[in-house]
């Protein structure tokens, strides 16, 4: 019975259909109210300024799939940004790629610390990352000494990783696209990626199947930290300013993108394509709000309301799907 479903019903019943529909409606509304939104330049600009959220959301998604949560990524972003900026300002001669690698290493170390606490010491993820959030943010301040860095201190090679245009797109977007593609391959087609889903779906049975929970959680959190570190470097390169205060509450936006994209907070569910759509939605919403005069104070409230609506909708569709499945099964009997 399921096999003979028509193409149309397959599309309408897929998870992403509602998301795409929402995105289209949003775009139409934006088109009517603010026509200026639709130039190629402004769209690229919008994506460029939101790209950091996309990177964070991909990392956060991996952690949420293991049924955990990481609220220290904003602080990790701040720490890597500060460390890279300070060293870059002190050693202007070093090529930019060094800072990119350094950012990845620092981020991975932060993530690994989280991973050890959550994976090997079995701490509750929320509490462990709450503690490390304080720690990373504090170290970020200590390392910066309360200092700010401004555009004239940034080297060309450093900023090129975010702003240099390759084939019409700024390189930060190319990096984002590469990360998306790598995440799709990793989560969909590699053993380690599938293990992340297995742990999130059912810990006991995956352990019986020989998957070590601690290792998988450690891997997911390290990757999440790595992406947060990368986004810290790219954030400072994009705006060419840095202080220890950057990335405040970015984890909330990253989590919001994941939830909009259909990643289940109880673990085991969620795909990269959903996160991409969630990222586009969030980018459009924030950009749209910033274009409307006098609406900038509304942004928080609107974001919060959208998340609640999205998750509630998610719940209802899940329930109706369950009911439909039950009906089909009872029809078979």
């Amino acid at each position: 019975m399921n096999k003979n479903k028509s193409m149309v019903s397959k599309i309408t019943e897929s998870r992403n259909f509602g998301l795409v529909l929402g995105l289209v409606v949003l775009l139409i509304v934006a088109r009517i109210i603010t026509p200026s939104m639709y130039s190629v330049n402004s769209i690229i600009n919008m994506l460029q300024n939101n790209a950091v959220y996309g990177l964070l959301a991909v990392g956060e998604m991996m952690v949420i799939i293991t049924a955990g949560i990481d609220i220290s990524i904003g602080a990790t972003l701040s720490l890597t940004g500060v460390v890279c900026c300070r060293l870059m300002a002190e050693n202007p001669g070093v090529p930019g790629i060094v800072w990119l690698l350094l950012a990845l290493v620092i981020g991975a170390l932060c993530g690994a610390f989280n991973g050890i606490l959550v994976g090997y010491f079995k701490m509750v993820p929320m509490i462990a990352t709450l503690g490390t959030m304080y720690i990373f943010r504090g170290f970020s301040f200590l390392f910066s000494g309360g200092q700010w860095w401004f555009p004239h201190q940034f080297t060309e090679g450093y900023m090129a990783f975010a702003t240099k245009k390759i084939a019409g797109l700024p390189s930060i977007l190319w990096i984002l696209i590469i990360v998306f593609v790598l995440a799709i391959i990793f989560l969909g087609y590699t053993t380690k990626g599938r293990r992340i889903y297995a742990i999130g779906t059912n810990k006991e049975s995956s352990q019986v199947a020989g998957i070590k929970e601690a290792k998988v959680v450690f891997l997911a959190m390290t990757l999440c930290g790595m992406l947060a570190g990368l986004s810290g470097m790219l954030y400072t390169a994009n705006y060419a300013t840095c202080s220890y205060m950057i990335g405040d509450a970015y984890e909330m936006t990253a989590i919001a993108i994941c939830i909009l994209g259909g990643v289940s907070i109880v673990g085991g569910k969620g795909k990269v394509d959903g996160v991409i759509i969630g990222f586009l939605m969030m980018a459009v919403i924030t950009y749209f709000i910033s274009l409307l005069p006098g609406l900038s104070v509304w942004s928080d409230a609107i974001q919060g309301a959208i998340i609640i609506a999205a998750v509630a909708l998610n719940k209802f569709t899940e329930r109706s799907a369950e009911k439909r499945a039950l009906k089909e099964r009872s029809a078979l009997i």
Partner: protein
Amino acid sequence: MSGEKNTNVPVRDLSVKQGFKLSKFLVSWEMVLIYILILINLVLIATRTNLYFAPGTIQAIIQSGMDVCPLVLGMILILMLGDIDVSVASTMIFASMVTGLCCQSGMPAIIGVVLGIGAGALCGAFNGFFVAYIGMPAVIVTIATSMLFRGVVKIILDVNVLKVFPSFYTTVAWTNIAGIPLSLILFLVMGAGFVFLLQKSRFGRKLYIIGNNPTCAQYSGIDVKKTKLIVFVIMGAMCGVASIFFVGRMGGSVSSTMGTGYEMTAIAICVLGGVSTNGGKGKVYGPVIATLIMAFLTYTLGLLEVDANSRKIVTGFILIIAVLIPNVNRELLASMKLKFIYKGNKNIEALNVKTAAEVKALKESIAEAKKDTSLNETDKASKIKKAEDKIDSLQKKCKKQTELWLREQREDEKKAKERFAAK
């Protein structure tokens, strides 16, 4: 009676009330917290003797930490359910805004306060409805509502600051009665109320059951959804109460950007106080002491010229260590022992554990025999000798078997290596 004892079957002690044991009481988590509190005080005395004994210092320290206390009390109930609420700071600001707007428009103070607490409870009910009746995870709902409530405050207040508040707000936060801060007295009174609510009332016991096993609670006839909703409403109302302490502490003014990070402080204090974030574990005393610890710690570090952001590092480490200590206990030690002493061989571990238990039982029987007055000396000596011999033989047997198994394991590994090498 003696026949029962000789069977060596461990009979589970089903009596719920255990007698008061001093040794157990002294190492309980609440007492550990008190030791930490005393330690911090000693550090403070050692480094700033004059200041510590100057009049008003201790009161100032306590007052500085009291603005989160109602949030902590509410958070205990939320964590007890295994949920979490990160919207408390936003709710607190929302409640203060309602009170401020009422007072600004010239309503009597009492109506403003009641409306403020009511607004907090309404926010809590909003959270609770989505968590309990729609079944959304509490983290997500409260992250969203923390944006939503603060967003509403931003829309209404924009960049304005509300300054008209009832005069008793600042009185609560800044005055002492007979040398004791008024806020501390109120905190302890509320704390006593929560002790009664959580540990003595039927409602509180329900929370423990739900926190331990919601499904089990559902089947034993507890209305889980309704209870969750009530807890979130209580949390919201406590946010309203917290707005009194908070606004008073801020000198009677409120703006939309105040109070960020209070939710994390409240959660950190609860966790430090021994409330499990998995639900179903914890008491009110712990967080009450932890609130004081946090106040003294922040103040002490401030006096030692540690800046605000380095204090964050200390707070973070304390939070992690506080959660780790109970985690590090037996389970981890056992797994370490298995890995390093028994070389990952579970048979050896089981044998050793079993032997240790038998040896312990025999040693107990020796001690009993020594005390026993009904036997004459020779009988006693022979009995003790017998038991000691048995212990000896048991230990020897265990050692032999362990060596045998270890050797077997080593040989197996060698063989496996050779096989792989051959391929």
